[in-house]
């Protein structure tokens, strides 16, 4: 019988990321509810890396070791975790939903004839059965023991080069006090001047969701989100942006969030302080006018 929960923790050169600790917290909570032991696995070429989790309250920390794990590859990680999962035989494998996990987790699952419940933000237990849905567990974790487990890693077909950042963005939106951001709702490049008028009235920087930059309507250094910039202005005005998680992570810490969207169910409203359900092409001109009036 498979038993227990194992949590895959992600690190770069020994530094664990925040999402991994959230996964550990989620695993702990699930473990407590189900009454199952909770272990963390750390993939590395270096046994010491797993020590980084020693202070978290876990039943055990398993250091999955192989020289080929010194840098991330999907082949290497899938092989290593496959061995680990077969050896530990857990009921659940939990992972943080990072770009790295997206890259190998489905491959790993496929080796067990399964797939991943991806982008999961909530788990609820009812009579031993777990329902996973969308919300995040939070909490703090400790661990006691560190175990070691050398694994076989087969042929690694891909050769990664060192990660790099593009030349520094021309505009640094992280310093902006007010941001007016546009999404696909702006419809066409010609309409951007409308948002620009609002930005001018508010003394704001113009920013955008990904599709706007993908289309080349605004330069990529004005993209907000998981693959763009992260901002925390006093005011963030989202015009015609639906509020996908990859966008929200880049702006959810703004002090005041305004959303204009014609869809009342758009997820952006979930984090908005002020919302207008309506057509941005009606809202924005009036808004510009009114702001100018109030400013006198």
């Amino acid at each position: 019988m498979p038993n227990g929960i194992i949590i895959f923790t992600e690190h770069r050169d020994g530094a664990f990321n925040k999402a991994s600790f959230e996964a550990v917290a989620a695993g702990q909570q699930l473990g407590a509810t189900l009454g199952q032991p909770v272990s963390a696995v750390v993939l590395s070429a270096d046994a010491n890396v797993a020590q980084g989790l020693a202070d978290y309250k876990l039943d055990r920390v398993v250091s999955v070791e192989n020289a080929k794990l010194s840098e991330y590859t999907p082949d290497g990680y899938a092989d290593a975790l496959e061995s680990a999962v077969r050896a530990l035989d857990p009921a659940y494998v939990l992972m943080p939903h990072t770009y790295l996990v997206r890259d190998f987790a489905p491959k790993l699952a496929a080796r067990f004839g399964k797939d991943v419940i991806s982008d999961c933000v909530r788990a609820s237990v009812d009579g031993g059965a777990v329902t996973f849905s969308r919300r995040i567990f939070l909490g703090k974790i400790d661990a006691d023991v560190v175990e070691s487990m050398p694994v076989e890693v087969g042929e690694v077909r891909m050769k990664p080069e060192a990660p790099f950042q593009e030349v520094k963005a021309a505009v640094d939106l992280s310093k902006a006090e007010v941001i007016v951001a546009i999404g696909r709702g702006i419809k066409g490049q010609d309409n951007i001047q409308l948002a620009q008028q609002l930005a001018d009235a508010l003394g704001a920087e113009l920013a955008a969701s990904r599709p706007i930059c993908d289309a080349g309507w605004l330069p990529i250094d004005r993209q907000i989100g998981s693959s763009g910039q992260t901002v925390a202005p006093k005011l963030y005005v989202a015009l015609g942006i639906s509020g996908a998680i990859q966008h929200l992570v880049g702006m959810k810490n703004a002090r005041t969030i305004v959303a204009v969207n014609k869809d009342p169910e758009a997820p952006i409203f979930d984090i908005a302080d002020y919302g207008i359900v309506g057509d941005l092409f009606e809202v924005v001109p009036t808004l510009v006018e009114e702001i100018k009036k109030l400013k006198g």
Binding site: L100, P106, Y274, V277, E290
Partner: protein, 256 residues
């Protein structure tokens, strides 16, 4: 170079979604459909690689007859032929089961490159491509935003989080999941639309799926619970909302 590009038809992004009666999926009856966003970029990149290196671009779609519009559009943009795995209902199809059907549909083609979008805009599994690579025994790279196929090996640029990137080298054949924005998408020309009429669309039946119980099943869909108390302004009147908002921005948010 033979490239297979996987394209899925999904609900139009501007559609106002409604939950169906059984709360198992959205109400599809009154929806319009379009190609999944990143799949459009996967096609564009495939066409560019073909233009540079020669070869053939084969589109593969799994879906109901209405998904033919995705195929026809891809053929009009320059794809050479298409495989349509005709399957009316994709509901309750797990990413593993879906990838298995797609793997069987393209296995015989012996492609040099398989391209998929990085995730579907409806299910958002972000898994089909990676599982497909495993089932076909291919190396893969996800979230690809640049492809260099000029050498013996493939060299691809991957997007990492927060503005980081990384180059990967790997042998062909391989599978890439393409991120949107990799290049600017071309429009279909009238000439392309005419030419598309003569191109082959092969219909195939889906391979039998595993009798084993699926590893995940949707029990209920619902709108997420709102956590924040949003002040809605204007009550449906856009102009009134705008005026109220200007006032709030001054008096409550104090941004001017």
């Amino acid at each position: 170079m033979k490239i297979i590009v996987l394209m899925k038809q999904v609900a139009n992004k501007d559609a106002i979604l409604r939950i169906n009666r059984d709360a198992t999926w959205i109400e599809e009856g009154d929806l319009s459909f379009e190609v999944n966003e990143s799949d459009g970029y996967a096609l564009e990149e495939s066409l560019r690689l073909k233009e540079k290196h020669g070869g053939e671009v084969v589109v593969c779609t799994m879906g109901a007859q209405r998904a033919k519009s995705v195929i026809k559009d891809a053929l009009a943009r320059g794809a050479d032929r298409a495989i349509h795995v005709v399957k009316d209902d994709l509901l309750n199809l797990t990413p593993y089961a879906g990838a298995k059907i797609l793997a069987e549909a393209i296995r015989g083609e012996q492609p040099d490159l398989v391209m998929t979008g990085l995730q579907s805009d409806d299910n958002g599994f972000a898994q089909t491509g990676v599982i497909l690579a495993e089932l076909l025994g291919l190396p893969h790279a996800t979230i690809v935003i640049e492809v260099d196929a000029s050498g013996e090996q493939l060299r691809v640029k991957r997007e990492l989080e927060s503005g980081w990137y990384q180059w990967y080298t790997m042998p062909k054949p391989a599978l890439l999941t393409i991120q949107s924005g990799i290049s600017q998408i071309r429009y279909a020309t009238l000439k392309g639309i005419m030419a598309a009429k003569k191109k082959e669309i092969k219909e195939v039946a889906p391979a039998a799926t595993d009798p084993a119980a699926p590893s995940q099943r949707v029990t209920k869909v619902y709108f997420p619970q709102k956590t924040k108390q949003t002040q809605f302004l204007g009550d449906g009147n856009a102009k009134a909302g705008a005026a109220q908002l200007a006032e709030k921005l001054r008096s409550e948010a104090r941004v001017f």
